[in-house]
Amino acid sequence: MKKKALSLMLAAAMVAGTMAGCGNSNAGSDTPASTPAPATNEDAASNDGAADNSGAEAEADGDYYVDEDGNKYKKFDDVRLNMLICWNGGFKTADDQYNNEVAAAIREKIGVTVEFEGINMSETEKLNMMFASGDMPDMINAPFWGGNGGETAVIKKAGQEGRLIDIKNLVPNYPSIADAYEIGVISTKYLENDIEPPENNGARYVLPTEVSGSIEDKAVWAYGVFVREDVAKTLNVDPASIKTSQELFDFMVQARDYGFKDVNGNDCIVATTYHNGWSYGDYAASFDQKKLTSYELDENGNVTLGKLNENWIDKNLFLWRMVKEGLLDKECFTQSDDRGKEKAGNGTALFTCAQYGMTIDATKQTGLYEAHPEMRYVPVGPLQYQDGSPLVQVESEGRSGSPVIFFPTTCSNIDAALTWLDYVNSKEGTRLICYGFEGDTYELNEEGQPRMNADLTERYRTDSEGVKEELRARGINYMAGRTYVAKKNTKWFGESGPFEADAVDPYLADYRKQRPVEILPGYAIDAMANGFEGYDEFAEWAFDDSKETEYTQRAYFADTEDEARAILEDYQEYLMTNDGGKMQAFLDYMTEVSKTRDDFAY
């Protein structure tokens, strides 16, 4: 009998264990009845009493915090929110996100704590899984580069299919983030086509972030090509004299043939990239033209796409030659950032590309310049455009794509979430999350601007990673990375971030001046594309970047130039013939559209 009872108990326990995993606290994708309805502005306002910073009614409603500039924030009763940082590669935070000093200081003022979580997988994959399962956090930060592909398409679909809260009428109540929609901060094209496309029926689901709220705060990404200084000196080449991709190619051939070694005495790779080939196009930059879109006008005044032209083939054949000649790292197309950084950090790659900051970070992590100062990576060129003008960072009137923050319908307290963002984007809040505490981590200079204290600044010069880690443990200088909306740091503090004025890498500062931002006037013509009948379906294959990458990268590994050319021409033919040759109809439509106004920019 005892045995029987034991057997029954064990079996019951096993069944219970099996069933335990089946519970679902959230509304599943296949249970529409229990899926939360899309919250409207009115819902959110009535549920949470959306902060009305100027309303007397709201003032009477409860406890408020007023910051040093007179901004008023509703104070919540210890609301905890979670925010997904949907960027592949994770997000470093303080070990204790609730009890660190900055989180405690924010909580003391507004009663809200936001805890972050990063991801180590494809962003699109994560977003798709999250929206389909209905298992979503309170807030999400993700890429939103505009157009109809990748993360942008998923986020737009989620908004239009009731997974996101419409924040159009909520955001104006939070003055420190409301300017994110201003033209100049973002472009008209971005606002009309991506932030509030016609399919949204007047709703706005995303809040643009990491955009500049002032002219001084326009981010200079400092893209380019960089070479180990000892390579240039040994080969007696002035890196600044390299102006075209062909000259760069010849320089690389010389470097390859010389037989340089890395810090460990191993053979070197000539040129590498960071994750998944980011951004090998920099090596072929002199095939590019200075323009805003991928469209161009041909000699007959017809609109065409860059990737349908001979120049596109020439550019990709140039990259094929780089691979064929052993100049471009064959592993780079599938490697991780860490692997790329390892190659730069050990001086194994003679040339690097992408943002200068990446290479500088890589060398800091390994201490390359301390042991081998001669191996410092210095800028090449900058290269020139096809027409001979120097490369710049081309921008339209404002950002046409950016990271965004959005709020799933599962957000437990939209008012608290927006209040938190409003506070950390205020002058006082920005200073707190970036610089920490006056008299402790920073002092005010004569202009009243915060500057990290002398000890931290001194240590940052030689051990930036160590100092960042130390500050992060206290909650300082990591939140802003993914939560600033329209950045005004330089306008307010005279530097874009802590240590920038006193300890920024002088090479980086100098290079930023060589690759300045240039705002091209006009209305980007690609904004008109979605007027084409059946555009969504058409864009799915015509502007499928992964398809293009698949073809071009296949071409880079072709045995002969003819084979590479054939693959590239195959892709062009696919574009022109797919779906019954719809591409020509689309180009004809764009040509007609191009005649409707005279301020189109290409």
Partner: protein, 319 residues
């Protein structure tokens, strides 16, 4: 096992008697059946209940409406897949890789089991067995990272050896011609030991008297293996083969996804990686489900066909 049809027609009384006997047997072994309940529950919940999701293949999926609430799309996704250029490429690639694995990787554990069975030194046998099982516990991510490190043109062991021999370094992982050997070699390294367990256990079930009789009749060890051991485990081999054929359109996604490089994409894009790409990455859940359903139907057909053939020619079958 076997599922042989004797052709005997039972009377209703005999059927009732058999049913009663079955119930008596079940009651007699009720504790064992009770222990089986969790597995059955697990199977129903995790294997059968999700099958209702197949309906997604016939829908235009919307996040807010869910699988069952979304509008019907008929056979649109099947048509799109069948007429897409990816259909033939991915199907062909999947079949080539699967058939290569069946031809080379399927017999490998049988051979290993037969060889291990002949080892007389117990300690050595245990050592070899343990060593061969270990790679099974290494994830594909680690296996491919190891391969990448070994074959890297920049400091990889393989290319260092080539260079020391005066040869040029080559990017093995990116060579299209190296793709199939890499797939087969890594699959065999990882799975051969673990897969041999089932055959080793089948070998231990072979009647020892048969070996004695064969030896008395003058059979040597090779003849014992060929005429006693192999026929003795034929049923196990048959069943494993039927099951393997069922997975002919599953070419081990983890491995292939990780081994994919721009250069080998035309031969490494298989159905599973394509489903992953279109389904989860691009959010075309319904399209990916349709592909998955096509794959499942073909797999079921393959299992049925193989089962029929093995029953007919080897008297081995799953049902």
């Amino acid at each position: 096992m076997g599922g042989k049809n004797t052709g005997v027609v039972l009377t209703p009384e005999q059927k009732a008697h058999n049913r009663k006997r079955l119930m008596t047997e079940i009651w007699k072994h009720r504790m064992l059946y009770l222990f089986m309940v969790p597995c059955v529950v697990w199977l129903l919940i995790f294997c059968y209940a999700p099958m209702t999701g197949i309906v997604l293949a016939f829908k235009n999926y919307r996040f807010d409406l869910g699988i069952f609430g979304s509008e019907w799309a008929g056979l649109k996704h099947f048509r799109n897949f069948m007429t897409s250029p990816e259909f033939w490429t991915t199907t062909k690639n999947t079949l080539i890789i699967s058939l290569l694995k069946i031809a080379i990787c399927f017999p490998a554990p049988i051979i290993l089991a037969l060889l291990l069975n002949e080892v007389r030194a117990k300690k050595f046998k245990s050592l070899v067995q343990t060593m061969s099982y270990l790679p099974n516990f290494v994830s594909w991510a680690v296996v491919v990272t190891l391969l990448t490190a070994i074959f890297s043109p920049y400091g990889g062991l393989y290319n260092d050896i080539r260079k020391s021999m005066g040869l040029e370094a080559i990017f093995v992982m990116g060579e299209r011609s190296a793709f199939y050997p890499l797939v087969i070699f890594s699959d065999m390294w990882k799975n051969v030991g673990w897969s041999s367990i089932v055959f080793l256990s089948a070998i231990t079930g072979v009647d020892q008297g048969l070996y004695e009789a064969a030896t008395i009749d003058g059979a040597n060890r090779w003849q014992c293996t060929w005429h006693v051991t192999l026929p003795g485990i034929a049923a196990t081999i048959g069943i494993m083969f039927i099951m393997r054929m069922g997975g002919i359109l599953s070419a081990d996604m983890d491995q292939l996804l990780l081994l994919q490089q721009p250069a080998n994409l035309p031969i490494s894009q298989v159905l599973d990686t394509y489903v992953l790409q279109t389904g989860i990455k691009y959010g075309k859940f319904e399209y990916a489900t349709a592909i998955g359903l096509v794959k499942s139907v073909i797999s079921l057909a393959m299992v049925t066909l193989t089962n029929f053939l093995t029953q007919k020619y080897a008297e081995v079958g799953l049902w």
